[in-house]
Subunit: 664 residues, 2 copies
């Protein structure tokens, strides 16, 4: 029945103030207020309806996205939304569109890499969306290895122009979002060639389509690269293919903030530090970690609520069956994911701080923390996106068969989320970068150069290499110091072991290639330590609200012990803990899950997601699952008629044994 | 270029006779010949084209499936295919359809649960497809707990009929494939009520639709439950919802082979043993394990071939970049999955034998091995389907960004495969059944009752509980005996530890609920041991062909060491191996991966899949990936026009700042 809250009982069990936790989750009272207001605005506007997406064909789906994106922009103008509110609105519209790349990549690229003059020329056009831009880097044959891009930008001193060209099939731009059908302009990455010399890859602003009739400009071949994973998912986006046949652009459309080409075709470095580029990468990856916490929390919210509604087995004397959330197997799979959502939220919050810190230092020409900040964001991007992708699918499985229905919201959430494991740095490639940084850190340990930031713990390597956990009873694992030391010792020992094995190779690079698998594991151990330690640091702050700090402390432990159990082999083989201590951790985890149980629904309510944003019948806030599932089913196009299209042509001849004459 | 084999170099590197391995993979020369012939037949027939599926809307997609299913049946008749060939043909058509349930569930249900008389009446109709049947068990509110089904079948002695009724919303049948729009009949599971007494759940043949005009019969509400995960995937299937409003069927449509209702409404057990039902479950789950090896091998074939084509980084002096298959991280993720494909193939082959063995015993009234066979098939179904679902997604990630395109074949393969983790027994529920059986086995160890079959090793519990691995050098892990003992010791110790912890509970059931997570892990350890030991047994057979046995031995080791590394925590915490031995295993694994490398392409060629069946541009047999990706892109409906539908309504007003007057 509408209006009834089937989860009211569950909500009343909570042992903390859920409204206060909502503030903590949002990051601040202000952030909560904006999110809350904008998400309701979107949810209440039928123009932003999204439940019909899985049923639409590609063209219809795409057209619908264009409408929404333009309508969203119109609303942003009408309501005079500021940048924060506008970006929240796009977030809650929850549909990948060309505008994501325009605002998220095109504008920042010009801001970061364009000269003041270039910014003055292009940004006002972009801000008003008089031009729509994309970010054309990846090519058909070149992804992770940006330095291997093949597109060329050859300077022609005669006309003061660059000639942009795609010399091979594999040099075709491939993947850029918004490129396929919409962008009028792109920041195109190409090899700069002057005077026959290759100066590596740089960015160029290239107009792609006519501003009059939207047709591609001469020499430009552009289109959509085709369907991607999922029904709706990223198929609302026109990821594109782009080829240049000697397309000419004025010299001043090369982004020249750092590297410049003069009228004469001479190249020179400006006095702006190159490291600024890394600052941008820290920024982008920091937002990806924040997105991970959104995606995982959404999946967990759906699975948790449905687990409280779904009942199976355990009926005694004709009573109701057991809620599946009461089964230990369900808790043991679900609650660590719930804890991960909070863990990723807090580490994302910290990364935001880190970005501010790095930016301030860069402005003061202090590059000392940049490598560490870069490694740490790369690693956390990798760790959180991989874990989130897995978690969404695990949540889908936790919903049993019904999780497989699009109305559960989980298939689409998975399909739309997984590219995060690949874009902005393939997750394995990123971990190898982290490992490289860790090896460097280890090699400098004896040199007196102190490791900084998230690697500071390695300064205590001597202790960490030989310490023994003093956990004796299960409850000892509740102590943050016990957790921290075990994680620090594990990370240190894995890194040091890798470094030792590397040193056995004559050629370090050969060693690095041969030991990749171990290096990746060491990097993961380091990144997991960061997540755990930032969660612990968060808990050392003042957190108001009745029971809020306690329940977060509980989740922090659940997260840490989950990782400890999952990677028990690491902890045991490095001798950081004993088998007995490992089994005490499992024992404690069981009891912690029981403590999470009464708080589970309130903990996902604290995300403050509207039913529109969640987009899931199983995750409905009121728990009214079955009637709504039943209702939704009838909306499928197949149910438009009782007898399906195709019956007369195919099924009737089959049943009537008249196949010989049937046209098949 | 067409006609060029870009993988020829790779193929020439193989150190074994690939044609002989094809026979081993197929199971026999005969099986190979049938598979080869039928798969080519399907591939060469344009009527079975499937590359356009992701672009079709639901109705079009479904209608297309009806055409294919009927056409396939027509070809089966025209070509006089026997049962084996017909089933292979349906397999290679590779599109879920109502026929799967008709042949795979409806017909077997009548065969297994119908009396001779019932079989004589219904089977001829079903064999000719004059009726089309589905298997209507699962309900909206009831999945795993079959005994909790709510649909009722109340005997009316006055008319000698059953009244089939859906008393609640949650009693609606939900999920049965083929039910939504096609089936004329269903085997419907309902609570048998006679004389006010509930006799539990039984099967009934119920006609659902008119054989004249296909309209639902009076009292029947039936439809499709809506879109599911993926673009094409299972959306070709009409999974259905079904409600009964006091629908009457004659008494002789209850399936009465085991349990009977007399004319007077008295119930009685026939003299046919109930255990027959378990025989059917062993059969169905055995086929699911075989399917797992098909799905995982398909994904691995795509990822392996593409990994040999894709190059990234490592270019020196302007030469070609490194093939990604040469990176250790790629090998370390990919080759264990390749090994898993073979491991699952051989354990599936053995399960087929087990089913024959069980059937023969059942016919001789020997039920002694049934519980063990049942537990073992349940466990292997769970293990192989979970691992396969994960493997497909891992293979997709191993293909980088391009794996996200539908043309890679991997998104659809994942979406169509994952339900296997849920249907025919949720994988976690099944592992708990295995654990229950293991606990029983452990409890009887002292009783003189010897554990049989796959649990026979527990007969040596005394030794296994205290033995120490004697591995001293990495190569010692090559000995099957070293692997087997470690796996047996681990499984035994985990089961025994669970049993000990259980015994601390006053109430065994409470203990079982509390320790579920540990029990699941013990069950997994047992099942992994089965897979490893059956692989080893396979290698003890005569395997002809140059180098074939050697390369399979290599894969067996890769599989075992992969599991050992993944679950290192188990092996170390139970003291079965030392940290040093664990690290020797990793060292050996690195060298084994290098040995797999030259054989990788030939090892996936041995699956003998046609490009049609693979359905992947990335996995093309000739390796001609990039030109074909480029070609396929242009087929997307969005590329029908240069300027997309929606430009004039939404994009032009945006660019021209004319939003105020735009209709959005």
């Amino acid at each position: 029945m509408d209006g009834v809250d089937y989860l009211a009982d569950e909500r009343s069990k909570a042992q903390f103030d859920v409204d206060e936790l909502k503030i903590v989750w949002a990051g601040s009272r202000h952030a909560f207020e904006v999110s809350d207001r904008i998400s309701r605005l979107v949810a209440s506007d039928p123009a932003f309806r999204k439940d019909n997406r899985p049923m639409l064909g590609r063209k219809e789906l795409f057209k619908n996205t264009l409408r929404k994106a333009t309508y969203a922009w119109k609303r942003i103008i009408e309501l005079c939304l500021n940048e924060e509110e506008a970006s929240k609105l796009r977030f809650y519209v929850d549909e990948p569109a060309f505008t994501d790349l325009h605002w998220g990549m095109f504008v920042p690229a010009i801001k970061g890499q364009g000269t003041d003059e270039q910014q003055q020329k292009w940004l006002p056009l972009a801000y008003k969306m008089q031009i729509i831009g994309c970010y054309a880097q990846t090519e058909l044959g070149h992804g992770s290895n940006v330095q291997g891009l093949e597109t060329t930008a050859t300077f022609d001193p005669q006309t003061d122009e660059f000639i942009i060209h795609s010399p091979t099939l594999t040099s075709s731009k491939w993947w850029p979002g918004g490129l396929g059908k919409i962008s009028t302009h792109g920041v195109v990455y190409a090899r700069l060639i002057t005077d026959g010399q290759d100066h590596g890859v740089h960015g160029f602003i290239v107009q792609l389509r006519s501003l009059d009739d939207h047709s591609p400009l001469p020499g430009i071949t552009v289109g959509d690269i085709g369907m991607k994973f999922g029904n709706g998912a990223y198929n609302t986006m026109d990821n594109g293919v782009l080829r240049f046949d000697h397309v000419r652009i004025p010299r001043n459309q090369m982004l020249m903030r750092v590297f410049q080409v003069t009228r004469e075709g001479k190249v020179k470095q400006s006095n702006v530090p190159r490291q600024l580029v890394y600052g941008t990468m820290v920024f982008v990856r920091q937002t990806i970690v924040a997105d991970a916490s959104c995606a995982i929390s959404r999946a967990v919210c759906i699975a948790t609520r449905y687990s409280a509604i779904r009942r199976q087995f355990g009926s005694q004397n004709g009573g109701a069956e057991t809620q599946v959330i009461d089964y230990k197997t369900q808790q043991n799979r679900l609650f660590p994911l719930l804890a991960s959502a909070y863990a990723f939220r807090f580490v994302g919050e910290w990364l935001k701080w880190l970005y501010t810190d790095v930016t301030q230092r860069l402005q003061a020409n202090d590059f000392s923390t940049l490598p560490e900040a870069h490694a740490c964001t790369a690693g956390l991007k990798s760790l959180t996106t991989s874990a989130t992708a897995d978690a969404i699918e695990e949540c889908r499985k936790l919903c049993g068969g019904h999780g497989y229905l699009c109305t559960s919201g989980l298939p689409e959430l998975f399909a739309v989320y997984v590219p995060a494991c690949t874009y902005e740095g393939d997750n394995i490639v990123l971990l190898l970068q982290v490992a490289r940084f860790l090896m460097k850190t280890v090699s400098q340990l004896g040199s007196g150069k102190k490791p900084v930031g998230t690697t500071a713990y390695m300064g205590r390597a001597e202790h960490l290499l030989q310490c023994q956990s003093d956990v004796q009873r299960a409850d000892d694992w509740l102590k943050p110091s016990a957790i921290l030391e075990a994680f620090e010792a594990r990370a240190t020992r894995m890194s040091v072991a890798c470094a030792r094995n590397l040193s056995k190779f004559k050629n370090q690079e050969d060693g690095f290639l041969e030991l990749q698998a171990d290096l990746v594991e060491a990097a993961v151990a380091h990144c997991q330590l960061i997540v755990v330690s930032k969660f612990i640091e968060k808990l050392q702050q003042d957190i108001p609200g009745n029971g809020v700090k306690q329940v977060l402390g509980l989740l922090c432990n659940v997260y840490a012990l989950h990782i400890l159990h999952k990677h028990l082999g690491d902890f045991l083989s490095t001798g950081c803990i004993t088998p007995k201590q490992g089994s005490l951790a499992s024992e404690l985890q069981r009891s912690l899950c029981s403590q999470v149980r009464p708080n589970a629904i309130a903990l996902v309510d604290a995300f403050n997601y509207t039913d529109h944003y969640l987009g899931s019948v199983l995750g409905r806030s009121d728990g009214n699952v079955y009637p709504k599932l039943y209702e939704e089913a009838w909306k499928d196009p197949l149910n438009d008629t009782v007898v399906p299209d195709g019956y007369h042509e195919y099924i009737r001849p089959l049943l009537k044994q008249q196949l010989r004459t049937a046209r098949l």
